[in-house]
Symmetry: C2
Subunit: 329 residues, 2 copies
């Protein structure tokens, strides 16, 4: 393992200190906690929070800021944050109108966030939540009942963050979230495994000419390993699976998110974007929103994921385009 | 080589098509050229342009947009753009007040941009330029007389882009640029080499426990290879060399830019940021501006660079903080 770190056990702590140093104008770290909260003035609106294991940077701390998340809770690498940390984030974020939690569908996350919700409600804070399960690659997985929550989660942050800024109630935000999540589908592939610093070696190994389709963001198994192919073939497989996963009418419009897994250069992401554009055009899929970059990574994994969001509500497009003050959106 | 591309010879063309697809709200690609230009309304001000070989994404196309670059010229991977491409960019960007070129100090770039300047002046367009040579690692290099131009170049884009937006004349911008460039110093290190798609193998190979200090963004040799060390030791070497390179008074204030080389996860960049913060604080270096991310990459190189900018003019800080509309700032 060759990484720019110090003691592997300190990596999250030091990363969060570095993060709060670099972005001190936007966010702060709660002393003694692995929580990043925004500096934006409290205005009595609903607070959106999220979090999960570390190793997916810039998720989720990079999306804390005005117009998006109020706070992010950062667990150990690939490990759910504990309920007391989530509870502290809820209390820090609350502005009196309740707190909405965006949870990726991993058994540990769901359990710990829901436990924190119970504890917060006992203290009189209103809490609601949604579980994001956008990854269509596989049913059930190493750490998940049902589908995994992956890159599409960040679109949920953005759309709900905008709704909160517009002053929507906790109940309204819950309604939007429940309508939104089934309309976001993601599928990815890996060229290499991710190395958790404390383990010191890659979670899985692919041969020098091999890829795996459907991999999870913690290296959970996908659905097929095979020989490396050209970008247009890779895109074709992901686009086809995504299109099949939606019930598409001619009048539907969509957004795409192309997500690098951590070690995939922008050069490759943009080549893949070009292939994806061609395939979507050929299928007459109307794309009215586009985003690309390292959004939900898997430490140093090389790979890419493609997310399609179907805009059942035009307000979602406006929400995605609204300006925010964050480190990474 | 395992890369998400199609034919290696087509990688720049397809990447630029993908880039202009994803960011079509901000920029467009000039049909038939490897040039990205901004959509912002022309207002008769000086245009700032830049460019160079591809492989440094998001540089430079990612910095085209309102408040920053008017256009970027993209050469083949690690290869200077040709004079006719640069000339075309000058003509496309010109709004009647002249065009200012930010050139990284590589012999090919300097020659081709200056040739384009001569051609443009023959056509009646006023052109001025600056050559950025911020890399303090080595004197002279594989493709360079003197010092190389690296990540600090993007700070020049930002500060001059703001000056242009404020309506400064070509002459004033030249004056700012000449004062600015000597106050930006960068030094980097690599954990792995970069693979140019058309070559198919890494430009240099480091052992699994080896790093190289002072490497260039095209894999040009640095000044020392040695065993991998902890982040704080790596930071210490870079910080010390940077501090030695400036004449520092107690009243001076600085900015830092921590730059990932392409395959280095944010996790590592933020750990390094934390170590760098501690070292700068210990040395009583006042840091009033901070930025971090994959800004000037070397395709899929793992590595990091650290830039210090000494603020001789407080206006530079305001310029760095001013909002822009680009794909990547």
């Amino acid at each position: 393992m060759k990484k720019i770190i110090n003691q592997p056990a300190q990596v999250v702590d030091e990363m969060l200190d570095g993060f709060s140093y670099i972005h001190s104008d936007i966010i702060y770290r709660l002393e003694g906690y692995d929580i990043i909260a925004r500096r934006a003035k409290k205005t009595g609106k609903v607070a959106i929070i999220s979090g999960g294991g570390s190793g997916h940077e810039p998720s989720h701390a990079g999306f804390v800021g005005e117009g998006m998340l109020s706070a992010a809770v950062c667990g150990a690498v690939f490990t759910s944050p504990t309920p007391d940390q989530v509870l502290k984030a809820i209390k820090e974020a609350d502005e009196g109108a309740g707190v909405f939690m965006v949870i990726k569908n991993y058994s540990g996350d769901v359990m710990n966030f829901e436990m924190a919700q119970d504890l917060a409600e006992m203290e009189g804070i209103e809490v609601a939540s949604v579980v994001v399960d956008d990854d269509i690659a596989v049913e059930d997985s190493l750490y998940t009942q049902g589908r995994r929550g992956v890159a599409g989660t960040v679109l949920v942050h953005k759309i709900l963050g905008d709704a909160a800024r517009l002053g929507k109630s906790l109940k309204e935000i819950k309604r939007i979230a429940d309508e939104l999540v089934p309309n976001i589908h993601t599928i990815g592939l890996a060229l290499s495994g991710a190395t958790v610093p404390e383990l010191g070696k890659a979670g899985f190994v692919l041969a020098s000419d091999e890829i795996e389709f459907g991999i999870g963001i913690h290296g959970e198994p996908g659905y097929r390993r095979e020989k490396m192919q050209e970008s247009q073939k890779l895109s074709q497989e992901l686009v086809e699976k995504l299109i099949q996963s939606f019930d598409i009418k001619e009048t539907d419009s969509f957004g795409i998110l192309i997500n690098g897994m951590g070690a995939t250069p922008l050069m490759e992401q943009y080549v893949f974007a070009n292939d994806t554009r061609k395939l979507l055009e050929k299928q007459n899929i109307a794309i009215v929103y586009k985003k690309l970059g390292n959004i939900m990574t898997s430490i140093d994994m090389a790979g890419i994921s493609l997310t399609l969001i179907k805009f059942k509500d035009k307000a979602w497009i406006e929400a995605l385009n609204s300006p925010v003050t964050t480190a990474a959106w």
